[in-house]
């Protein structure tokens, strides 16, 4: 096939109007190299980008906010500060590095700070803020919704960072708050579902204290931490709701649920490692976490039950949950020759989840018999992984490995009316995995690298059909890198078959990607990538349809066929103007059917409810072209402007489709 010049030109043009990395702002272009100002023995470099961001959205605004969420307003799109001692002997500090992004109400804001005094201390701060908007979408009738703000901060102080005895202090905080919508099912198992509002309030604080000592070439690192979590979200409904099911007489007039939940997870971590030996190296890591939580739940609801009788119900539940976990990893590496590495890792993991709760319910003032519940759930895993790598030639190496894991799982679920003790009812199952891996790496010519890896595993009695059982993974990668040109191709196939007593589950995923970049001149570069992620799963399912009719032996066949493309180009014109153009395209072709209820072509679906058929594929398209121009208007000042379009379209539904035009204009200044 010959491409006509116009076609080839169009292809090149498409390639050139491309840029891979959304979002369009902040600008990537930096101002001219800046040597900063010298004062009092320090060198100070600063830069910031200040601008205005705008957006217009057509279609489903909720979906836009869920996937993109940039809004109008003035932003400090990015900022940086570097203060560095010129001789490394500053008085209070030798280095301050500060980088910020999106300050001023962008949905994704962050600040990263490092302050350091050589040999004395190093302090790191990472602060992040995220506007998490999650509309109902296709989940739960669209009644699960969140509009929360999440703030995260991590502080780490290292004392004497370059000495043989170091100390660590740390503090982290993670909080989430904001309104949400959820659902509640009342008043019995055949009742109805109602939307309820929630005011989410969650907070986690973590404190860390540790030390590391180096003795005889062995490093011992010990860390003690305390993680404290509390949640006191309140769920409520203050107005009458008929419920989701119009044929049901159940209604809810009001509801209030308080459920404070609080606990601490103190933990220890000890690590031991030895590096730099000619013939061997070792390291180990051991942790113990004692997770504890206590809770109370108090729920008051008022409405009518499914026969229309007025119902006032109060539920009180309280109890505790513990989850101690012990883990250990010990790794030995042996280097019998300079081209041979043998590594063996033994891992131990023991986790026990023990919980008890007391449930008491009053309906119209009459109590039901309280229910005591006890739940035990434990996992103990011992795994051993061995790897060997032999480099026969500088251009050819092979590697292989074997992994054995023995996982013992125990559970005991008891619920009874009346006080403990509970009747013993522990059940156990052991799940073993044997997996082998092999591969080689070949460099037949200097710019060319080829690597192939394969893994095959056999697991006995996995608990879940979707878990790995008889699986095989084959992957290959080829890279050509010569001067300013790089081309990479990769392919991976992951096949898992999981048989059990009722049916067979099989999943097959294939990934292919080609990615290249070319930078022939310092004023021009181009990147392009294409990828295909194909997944098809076949799972046997069992369910009921009316009237209580059991359906066995049917299969759920799901196909996702995702194609992705990214293109990017960047030009510099007369050393003054930078132009970036880009395009990103994601498309799930599904299983190729024409309509949601048609079923895949050539396949007669055995699934009778239409909802099943429609759920087996979900073709959609998400694309985003963008362009940005950055012009140097003075030696240290640039003007930037950008535009990015987002288009989201589902093939079988239009309710969540949107298109959005976003853009910004900013000034970058460094001094």
């Amino acid at each position: 096939m010959h491409l006509r010049p116009s076609t080839a030109g169009a292809c090149l043009l498409i390639a050139c109007i491309a840029y891979a990395q959304p979002p369009v702002a902040p600008a990537n272009e930096s101002t001219e190299p800046n040597r900063g100002d010298n004062t009092a023995g320090y060198n100070i470099l600063q830069s910031f980008e200040l601008g205005y961001r705008w957006d217009t959205v057509g279609g489903d605004d909720g979906m836009y906010r869920s996937t993109v969420n940039y809004t109008n307003g003035v932003r400090l799109l990015s900022g940086s500060l570097a203060v560095q001692s010129r001789d490394g002997h500053g008085h209070w500090f030798d280095q301050i590095l500060l980088n910020t992004q999106g300050l001023g109400n962008d949905p994704y804001q962050s600040a990263n700070l490092r302050v350091e005094k050589n040999r004395l201390y190093r302090y790191d701060l990472l602060w992040r803020s995220d506007e998490y908007y999650n509309p109902g979408l296709t989940i739960s009738y669209g009644e699960h919704f969140m509009d929360t703000a999440r703030h995260l901060q991590d502080h780490d102080l290292t004392l004497f960072p370059q000495s043989n005895l170091r100390f660590f202090l740390g503090y982290s905080r993670d909080s989430q708050s904001g309104p949400a919508l959820s659902t509640v099912q009342l008043f019995d198992g055949s009742g109805d579902e109602f939307p309820v509002f929630a005011n989410i309030r969650r907070q986690q604080n973590e404190y860390r204290l540790g030390a590391e000592v180096n003795f005889f070439g062995i490093r011992l690192n010990v860390l003690h931490g305390w993680e404290d979590f509390k949640e006191d979200t309140v769920n409520f409904l203050n107005s009458a709701e008929p419920g989701n099911n119009p044929n049901d007489l159940t209604t809810l007039t009001s509801l209030r649920r308080n459920e404070p939940y609080h606990g601490t997870s103190p933990y220890w971590r000890a690590a031991l490692f030895r590096e730099g030996q000619k013939y061997w190296a070792m390291n180990g890591r051991f942790t113990y976490v004692a997770g504890q939580r206590g809770f109370v739940q108090d729920e008051n609801s008022f409405g009518t039950d499914r026969i229309g009788a007025s119902t006032l119900r109060q539920v009180v539940t309280y109890g505790n949950a513990d989850r101690p976990a012990v883990t250990g990893n010990l790794t030995f590496s042996i280097f019998p020759a300079s081209n041979v590495t043998f590594t063996n890792t033994t891992s131990y993991y023991n986790i026990r989840m023990v919980g008890d709760s007391f449930y008491e319910q009053f309906t119209n003032g009459s109590p039901i018999t309280p229910i005591y519940s006890f739940n035990f759930f434990g996992i103990q895993t011992i795994a051993n992984v061995s790897d060997v790598q032999v480099r026969f030639k500088p251009w050819f190496s092979v590697h292989g490995g074997y992994n054995y894991a023995d996982r013992r799982i125990g559970a005991n679920e008891s619920a009874k009316t009346g006080a403990p003790p509970f009747a013993p009812g522990r059940i156990e199952q052991t799940n073993r995995l044997n997996a082998g891996a092999a591969g080689f790496r070949l460099k037949p010519a200097n710019p060319l690298t080829i690597s192939v890896d394969a893994q095959i595993g056999r697991a006995s009695r996995p608990i879940y059909p979707v878990a790995d059982k008889d699986y095989q993974v084959l992957s290959g990668r080829i890279e050509y890198r010569r001067g300013p040109f790089r081309l990479t191709g990769l392919a991976r196939s992951d096949y898992n078959t999981n048989s059990n007593s009722l049916t067979t589950y099989a999943a097959h995923s294939r990934q292919y990607a080609v990615d290249g970049s070319w930078t022939p001149k310092d004023w021009f570069s181009i990147d392009a990538g294409w990828g295909k992620i194909h997944l098809n799963t076949l799972g046997g399912i069992a369910y009921f349809i009316a009237p209580s009719q059991s359906v066995l032996g049917t299969e759920s066949y799901y196909v996702s066929n995702i194609h992705s493309g990214t293109l990017a180009a960047r030009f510099t014109i007369a050393r003054r103007a930078d132009i970036s153009l880009g395009y990103s395209h994601i498309q799930d072709l599904g299983d190729g059917r024409a309509t949601a209820l048609a079923g895949p072509p050539g396949v007669t679906s055995p699934l009778t409810p239409p909802g099943f058929v429609a759920a087996q594929t979900f073709p959609l398209r998400f694309l985003s072209p963008q362009g940005r121009v950055s012009i140097r208007i003075a030696q240290r000042v640039r003007w930037n402007a950008g535009y990015q379009y987002y288009g989201y379209r589902e093939d079988f539904s239009i309710l969540q489709n949107y298109r959005a035009h976003t853009g910004y204009s900013s000034l970058s200044w460094s001094f």
Partner: protein
């Protein structure tokens, strides 16, 4: 380089060539000459080297010559000086060194951190992806970790399919700069993930005690709960979610929840008080759309304290 600058460089090199060799030991076993000698020719690097974290070794003044400044990494420079430059005379020229040697050189100092305890057995090292594939000591774009490029761009260079996943409509905000790949992964290697059976996934960093890194941020999913959803503990969050990105809401593996639930909850297997994974009961008429929205009733699907069916 402009003509004037080029002339200055030639002069300096000429002076260096004729004068300095007389001040350093005779050729033979290479010897350390000190960073100030290197500075004579490599002034472009040295003039801003105080901004580099490796300048600590120079500023200290207490380190041994083999751990100080340029020669701390590149080796003794006397032969290079005597030869008047040239890559072949640099004992450790990173651009020409094999991957193993680069790793050994960097780990002489950088092995001290626990996060790099598994670097020799990591997948990256096995594929000859070593320090200088990601870090650039002299031409870094990020002053903190001396990365060649912004972290996400660096990772995408090889992990093209991951770039596709983060371009999907539902994704963790990595492209937006809110998160980094290293929030969940340790590119220097990790311990086996025993929350599954230690074979996969690899290079995923652990939270407190071999927990999935998801729980570092998703604090409300950590528990412990009186009633845990066992799938979370057996197989991890990726049983139901695609962590990088998905075309489905909430990073789910399926566009509709009930098919995903039924793939396990069909009475399969032998484990559990009911002799298998509990099947939906007769009340659940799956032909009725209300029963196709599992999490409308089973709200606390990750774990609950008050209800074994995750109702509240």
């Amino acid at each position: 380089m402009r003509r004037g600058e080029r002339f200055q460089a030639c002069l300096i090199r000429a002076a260096f060539f004729f004068l300095i060799p007389g001040l350093i030991p005779a050729a033979g076993a290479a010897d350390y000459v000190g960073s100030n000698v290197c500075r004579t020719c490599h002034s472009d690097i040295y003039s801003t080297f105080y901004r580099n974290p490796h300048f600590k070794s120079v500023a200290s003044g207490k380190e041994k010559p083999e751990n100080t400044g340029c020669e701390g990494c590149h080796g003794p420079g006397s032969e290079h000086v005597a030869a008047g430059g040239g890559r072949d005379t640099i004992p450790m020229a990173f651009s020409a060194a094999p991957p193993g040697k680069i790793l050994d050189t960097c780990l002489r100092c950088h092995a001290q951190t626990i996060s790099r305890a598994n670097i020799r057995r990591s997948v990256h090292t096995g594929n000859d992806v070593v320090c200088t594939n990601c870090h650039s000591v002299h031409h870094s774009q990020t002053p903190k970790f001396l990365l060649q490029k912004k972290q996400v761009d660096l990772c995408y260079t090889c992990h093209a399919t991951v770039r596709a996943q983060f371009s999907m409509p539902f994704k963790h905000r990595v492209n937006e700069g809110f998160m980094q790949c290293t929030d969940c992964h340790n590119p220097h290697g990790t311990y086996p993930p025993t929350w599954r059976t230690a074979d996969r996934p690899r290079m995923v960093d652990q939270a407190q005690a071999n927990e999935e890194p998801c729980l570092k941020c998703h604090i409300d999913k950590r528990g412990p709960f009186v009633f845990e959803h066992p799938a979370v503990r057996f197989e991890g969050c990726e049983t139901c979610h695609n962590p990088h990105g998905s075309v489905n809401a909430r990073l789910l593996k399926r566009p509709v929840v009930f098919t995903m639930c039924l793939e396990c909850h069909s009475g399969l297997g032998t484990f559990g008080p009911l002799g298998g994974i509990p099947r939906t009961d007769t009340l659940h008429n799956l032909a009725d759309p209300r029963y196709q929205n599992c999490t409308t009733c089973h709200v606390r699907i990750h774990g609950s304290n008050s209800n074994i069916y995750f109702f509240r």
